[in-house]
Structures are given as C-alpha cells and as structure tokens.
Symmetry: C2
Subunit: 183 residues, 2 copies
Amino acid sequence: MDSATAREQALDAAESLFYGRGIQSVGMDDIRGASGVSLKRLYQLFPAKEHLVEAYLERRDVRWRGRLAEYVERQPDPERRILAVFDWLEEWFGEADFRGCAWINSYGELGARSERVAEQVRAHKRAFRDYLASLVAGAGLPDALTGPLYLLAEGAMVTAGITGGTRPATEAREAARSLVAAR
Amino acid sequence: MDSATAREQALDAAESLFYGRGIQSVGMDDIRGASGVSLKRLYQLFPAKEHLVEAYLERRDVRWRGRLAEYVERQPDPERRILAVFDWLEEWFGEADFRGCAWINSYGELGARSERVAEQVRAHKRAFRDYLASLVAGAGLPDALTGPLYLLAEGAMVTAGITGGTRPATEAREAARSLVAAR
DNA sequence: CATGCTGGAGAACGCACGTTCTCCCCTGCT
DNA sequence: AGCAGGGGAGAACGTGCGTTCTCCAGCATG
C-alpha cells in the first residue's frame, strides 16, 4: 500500500471516528484498527495526533463546502440559491450518521486547549459566512441580510446536532424566506 | 467548614474551571486546588467526577435562566420582552469570562459519550425554547415565531462563542425585530 | 491523660492512551 | 542463497488523571 492511499484510509477512519464519537474519546489505536494502517505508518504520516486532527478538519472543510456549493449551484435563480442552502442543510441533517457540525463540536472539545483547532474552526465559519455573503450579493440583496441568514444556519446546525431531526432546517428556511421577502 | 459550604465552594471552582477550560482538561485535583476542598471530601460530596459535572450544569442552568428571566421581566411591554432576550445575550457576550454557551460546549465535549450530559443539554435547550415560546404567546404573536427566534438566539450563542464579541447579539436582535414586525 | 473520631495532605494505585521500540517477515537486489 | 531495508504486529514506556488509601494532627469525650 503506497503512502497516498494509506493517508486516505487513515483520514477516512479518523473522519468517521472523530466525527461519530468525538476526538478525545478516539485513540490512535482505534484509528489503526479502523484504517488498517499500522501505528508506525500513522506516525510517519502524521507526527502527532493533533496533526491528524487538523488534517481531518481541513479535508472535511473542503468537502463540506464543496458539497454545499455543488448543491446550491444547481439552482439557477440567484434568490432561490439562498434558500437552497437551507434545503441542503435539511438533507444533511437527515443523513443517518449526522451528529451535528463537526467544527462546533470540535470547538467545544478542543477550542479552549488548542489554538490551532480554534483557528481552523474560525476559518471554516468565516468561509461559510463569506459564501453566504456571496449568495446575497449575487441575488442583489443588501449585505445586511448575510448576518441573520448566517445566524439562522448556525442555530439550525447546533440545534439539529443536539436534538436530532431535520425540523431546525425547515424552520430556518421559513425564517430565511421571510427575511428575504422583507428585504 | 460544613458540608453545604464545601459543596458550594466545590461547585464554584468547578463552574469557573469547567466553563473556562473545558471539562476534560480540568482534573479533580484542579478542583481541589481552586476550591480548598480536599479530595476526600470532594468524593464524599460527589461520588465521581461525572456527578460533579452534572451538578455544575444543573446549578448553572437554574442561575442562567434565572438571570435571563429577571432581566427580561424588567421590561413591561410584552413585545419588547422578546427583544430584551437579545439585549441580555449582548450583555452576556460582553462579559470578560464569556466563553460561549456552556451547554453547547459540553455537548461537543461529552454529548457522544455521556447520555446523562446529553440529556441535560437537551433539557436546558428545551427549557430555553419553552421560555421563548411563553414570551411569544404573552405578546399575542403566532407560535410559529418561536422557532426562528430560538434559532437566531442559538446561532448568536454559538457564533459569539467561536468568534468572540457582541456583534452576533445585535445582528440577531435586528433579525428578530424584523421577524416580529413582519408578524 | 487515654481514646476514638473527623478531616486534611498527599502518596499510591490502576488504567487509558500518546508515542516509541523491538522483533520479525517479506521483498527485491546482487 | 545471502542480505539490506521497509513495513506490520504489538509490547513497552511515560504520563496524566480518576479514585482510593495511609498517615497523622486536632479535638471531643470518659
């Protein structure tokens, strides 16, 4: 097995375990068991657990925002694109392994201890907010709409993580529709 | 020192340490050092760390909702009471030791591992949402407003926790005002 | 004074886990 | 065949920490 695929398998295992059970309750030995990559190799690829955590968050960030953008951009009407964000949230919340926002959870777990993780979370949230801002601008709507829409989306994510279910997404979409309609 | 004050001092130390640094990174020995309550006594009062964590969350829940209600009820106009919730959030976010919502953070840290903690978080959020619902009803507004207001508040809490600052509260208040105005 | 109880200080224990080390097999080269 | 090197399995090591235990000082009681 070459390095590149070992790295991918390690990250696959890390993502499913870290996201599903939390970071601190997953040991490097669990990663080895789930990935089939030996400890020796794991430590060659990631010199410490924290590096693996960062690589996990980074790869998930790219994929998460990619999936969102891909979904949203199937919608040609620029104003409806904004609401499509909430449709996508609803789909996400409904996935069987959904367990909340990985960054919010990681921040609760490690934000106070690891400045690197805290900064990755801030960067992810900044990127998401900027993306919303670009959709608002693309629809010709006032920039002041971005903040409220962002807060609705964050509230939906944290609530869906805690209580489960897709209802937070539909509530957020209706509120977003109302805000957009009110200009 | 009698049991009751030892218990209070232990909980004071637990609250400031757990909230400020996260639960898992605070050891029982740190609690002892900060509270002056010996390990032996700590374990008499709380048979395991998890009990202390639960007592911390429970006492904080009572106090947090008490402070909120006290602030809100100073406002006589029932519609303005709803906005007062966001004013109070702004004050809270501005406190020097503010580090996000204790329950959201605890959920990220322990939600996947401790069903007791997860249930306490859900109960706290349910109580907060029910309180918002009572304000909405008290103002004679449609119940459908509760969900969006709740999501705005949650989004503001999580965002203020991650990025710091009071701006999420003002953004949420403006959005709330707009939703209330639109009926 | 002797005796027994309470509670504090902190050592000790056990375990989990991040990280490193040892041993050995396998493979490819000469 | 002989051998060097990479990689796997898993033991070993060090540390942190939850929990318990030991020891002793202080104090109330006969």
